[in-house]
């Protein structure tokens, strides 16, 4: 049941965003990409204000304002500077990324300990299931939203706005300042999107810089689904279709997860669904010959066309869900053995290593999928709302313990899951996300393993190879809390050492890494020291390419990347994270209370040296360092890998 109620609630919260998309896409006839940014803006500002102890309702008003400002900016650029609407939206969305970071001051704001709207509701809960209680409260809210929006479209202002979108020439002839009306409409739309962002942030328990990604596609999909299901000319029906579309969209995702579909295909499913519905609708409305009438789907179609369209959309959905159904994914509700739900945010190297070692260790401890227990592995592929839906599914499937791997998953899990144990793994710092105040004083149903790379030890390694005065270059993505945290650790390690200077360069995508690296090379750095950062590490080859011509050595924290051209690496062995987490899972399954299990740090460090690179750079590695190394690559002996640890 949790899966469906959770999806219903998400559908409600996203309905405001969907209405915004409807307003721009259907009323103003312009697909506004600003929403990808304004959704996050609303979330960011609401989160910041809630942390500052502002009432959630006021925070939502502010979220509306900031979204509306973003929309007004897009429309202003579009109407006053005559920049194409799509392009104007892209420009504002891109700019908002920086603004959102400024609003938040970092890339992620946890709201776990803050008074959010679910907390306010929970305080007056007469004893219902929290999610069901939220639904019960949201129902009249959505009803009011539906009626008010429908009514708005019937007012003089609403009629003028619709006429402006439908036929700007006629509207101008009737005395409407088209540019101003459009700006008002797009601002209103993005205000609603901002409110949606603010609500979702409170519901999932955090705001994140990446949470708005793909909002426009979700919104369009929901609008189109709604339209294909409810095809009536009545304005109230149209507004209702937007809300229903938002809910159905969430239900489709929940359904896909319920059927065991791989979430990696969700985005493709969404895109294919939207495209098919659009094409089917185009084919059905074809032949009126009037551009005006074809621009929006004509509401004057004969009834059989509407029925045909609805049927086509439903059929597409069914075929797609059926196609993507993977055998064996359907949970078996009758088995009364241990059930473990493992959830990771994306398909990332470290996370995969953690997951694989977790599964291996669990098997060694006697928990093998299908044998003595059920292990459900889920991957949200970077989509935060999907994380929530997966958690709902885990709760519905009656998981005995939930294992979130990575920080965002853990953040969502500790916010949503209160009634069963959560064992997290591969989280850099569980304290900043509110999982606990110390290793022993933490949320009563939560335990796990964590650890940040000891930058002081990394610096020791660097200094033992390159003594004397030196300039260290580092690259990171300031939008990632972990990266920024690691840079702080690095700065701490360098502080008090007058011989070492840190020169930084920041990036926001992997395509910028090469240029950032070149700029550091230009500044005469003596070595690269790359703090853990997913984006920079994914573009590691670019750093090697920039460093090699100037013979600059590279140090990093991921021993797995050593063979790709780094001189030295010091970091944690993430298999340890998985193994330690598996052992905590076992303790919990055996009946131990998570409250009494302290958070554990990973303890297995790995140090690696690449002798082949050292030779290329003409550097000698001190014997002491080589003795400490757990892995040595290359070297004079022609063996490719010499694992000194063995």
């Amino acid at each position: 049941m949790e899966l469906w109620i959770g999806a219903l609630n998400l559908g409600f919260l996203y309905a405001f965003m969907t209405m915004g998309v409807f307003l721009t896409f259907r009323v103003h006839d312009f697909p506004d990409i600003t929403v990808d940014g304004s959704f996050t803006s609303g979330a960011a500002l609401a989160a910041v204000l809630i942390v500052a102890k502002v009432h959630p309702l006021i925070a939502l008003l502010a979220a509306f304002a900031v979204g509306a400002a973003a929309g007004a900016a897009t429309s202003f650029i579009n109407t006053r500077f005559n920049v194409n609407g799509l392009l104007a939206g892209i420009l504002v969305m891109t700019g908002l990324y920086s603004i959102n970071l400024h609003i938040m001051g970092r890339s992620n704001i946890p709201l776990l300990d803050q008074a959010t709207f679910p907390d306010y509701l929970e305080a007056v809960n007469p004893g219902l299931h929290p999610e069901a209680w939220i639904t019960l409260i949201l129902l009249p809210v959505m009803l009011a939203f539906w009626l008010l929006t429908g009514l708005f479209f019937k007012t003089d202002l609403g009629i003028s706005m619709r006429a402006t979108g439908n036929n700007p020439i006629m509207a101008a002839a009737a005395g409407v300042d088209v540019a101003r009306m459009k700006t008002f409409g797009v601002a209103l739309a993005n205000g609603l999107v901002g409110v949606s962002g603010g609500l979702v942030a409170q519901y999932q328990g955090f705001a994140d810089i990446g949470m708005g990604m793909g909002t426009i596609v979700i919104g369009l999909a929901a609008v189109i689904i709604g339209e294909s299901l409810i095809r009536s000319r009545s304005l109230y029906a149209k507004v209702l279709s937007v809300i229903v579309g938002s809910i159905i969209f969430r239900m489709l995702i929940a359904g896909a997860l319920f059927l065991g579909m791989n979430p990696i295909d969700l985005k493709l499913l969404t895109a294919v669904f939207v495209l098919t519905t659009l094409v089917a609708s185009r084919a059905l409305t074809h032949g009126t010959g009037l551009t005006e009438d074809r621009r929006r789907w004509s509401l004057s179609q004969p009834i059989w066309r509407r029925i045909g369209l609805g049927a086509a959309a439903l059929l597409t959905a069914m075929v797609l869900v059926w196609t993507y159904r993977t055998p064996g994914g359907v949970p078996n509700p009758s088995s009364r053995t241990a059930k473990i739900g493992v959830l990771q945010i994306s398909d990332h190297g470290l996370l995969n290593i953690t997951r694989d070692s977790l599964i291996e260790e669990l098997a060694r401890l006697g928990y093998k999928n299908g044998d003595h227990c059920t292990i459900d592995l889920a991957n949200a592929n970077g989509d935060l709302p999907t994380v929530n839906t997966i958690l709902d599914k885990f709760i519905q499937d009656g998981m005995d313990v939930i294992v979130p791997i990575s920080t965002p998953c853990t953040q969502a899990a500790i916010n949503k899951v209160k009634d069963r144990p959560v064992v997290f793994a591969t989280v850099a710092n569980p304290f900043i996300i509110g999982a606990g105040r110390s290793a022993t004083d933490h949320l009563s149903n939560v335990t796990g393993v964590y650890g940040w790379v000891p930058m002081d030890k990394t610096m020791e390694l660097v200094r033992s190879i390159i003594p004397g005065r030196m300039r260290i270059g580092s690259i990171w993505d300031p939008a990632h809390a972990n990266s920024v945290f690691n840079v702080t650790l690095l700065e701490d390690a360098i502080r008090g050492n007058p011989d070492v200077t840190l020169i930084g360069a920041t990036i926001s995508s992997s395509s910028e890494v090469y240029q950032a690296a070149l700029s550091l090379v230009q500044k005469d750095i003596d070595a690269f020291l790359l703090v853990p950062d997913n984006i920079v590490y994914s573009a590691f080859e670019s750093v090697v390419k920039a460093a090699r011509p100037k013979h600059i050595p590279i140090f990093l924290s991921d021993v797995e990347r050593l063979g790709d051209g780094a001189l030295g690496a010091l970091g944690y062995d993430y298999t340890a994270s998985g193994i330690q987490a598996a052992r905590l899972v076992e303790r919990v399954l055996k009946g131990e209370n998570p409250r009494d299990i302290p958070f554990e740090r990973y303890h297995q460090l790995t140090v690696g040296i690449n002798l082949k690179v050292a030779k290329e750079l003409g550097m000698t590695i001190p014997q002491g360092v080589l003795e400490k190394a757990t892995r040595v690559y290359g070297g004079d002996n022609s063996r490719a890998v010499l694992d000194a640890a063995q």
């Binding site: 007012t155 009629i159 006429a163 439908n166 006629m170 005395g175 000319r233 009037l290 005006e292 009438d293």
Partner: protein
Amino acid sequence: MAGCRYALASMGQHDEEVMIRITQLHKTFNPGTVNEVHALRGVSLQMRAGEFVSLIGTNGSGKSTLLNGVAGTFLPDSGTVEIAGEDVSCRMDYQRARHVSRVFQNPFMGTAADMSVVENLHMAYLRGKRSYPKVGLTRERREVYREQVKLLEMQLEDRLDDVIGTLSGGQRQALTLLMAIISKPKVLLLDEHTAALDPKSAAQVIHLTRRFIAAQQLTTLVVTHSMQQALELGDRTVMMNKGEIIDDISREEKQHLTVNDLLDKFAELRKAERLTEDMLEALRREYL
């Protein structure tokens, strides 16, 4: 907008009789490019209140541009436009809409296709008023619109809630006309508003045009593509060529004129070298 300056000279000495005064209006589209078109070359025209003027000329002679200049869809490069003694040269179309309403050649242009008949009429009613978030389209107003639609004699009073997109071109154009006069404008601009209609609908719309204009004593400027219409419609006929007014035929003169006389007039103009041979050809072709 070099030309957008208020003409101080004409202030204060407004002649009550004059509704429209266009003075030395110039407009060049896409200046400095290969597509440069000098569409209006110093057009001056005065219309008395209640005067009904028809405008003829070859394709591309600047008739629509002149109407647009009055409506304010663009700001002129130089020259002024005064409506009822007020210099509106620097006002945009939506600011002039209170006084000026228009019907376009394309029947799809004057109405919002996806909105209902009453909603379109209500938009026309809102012309020149601010639209507030209040429900102005009340039951009473619907009844007013029902009565007004009856004037069209097209049985549209039974289709008030139908979407405009489902109506025929003739019905849409008749509605656009009704919408143009519903809020009692000072000036009515009609740009070949029957050219896209079948002959029967065209006759119907012309009939309505005459009735409405007579009833409201509207100052009207109508562009027409039919010589017959030019003679039958209006008190005066003005002829344009290459962005200039080349002839102005008064009411008295018109009363004795036939279509052939009008063509002779073209020939005369040709002799006076105000029309080139191919222009004359074009006129003959287009108007016969």
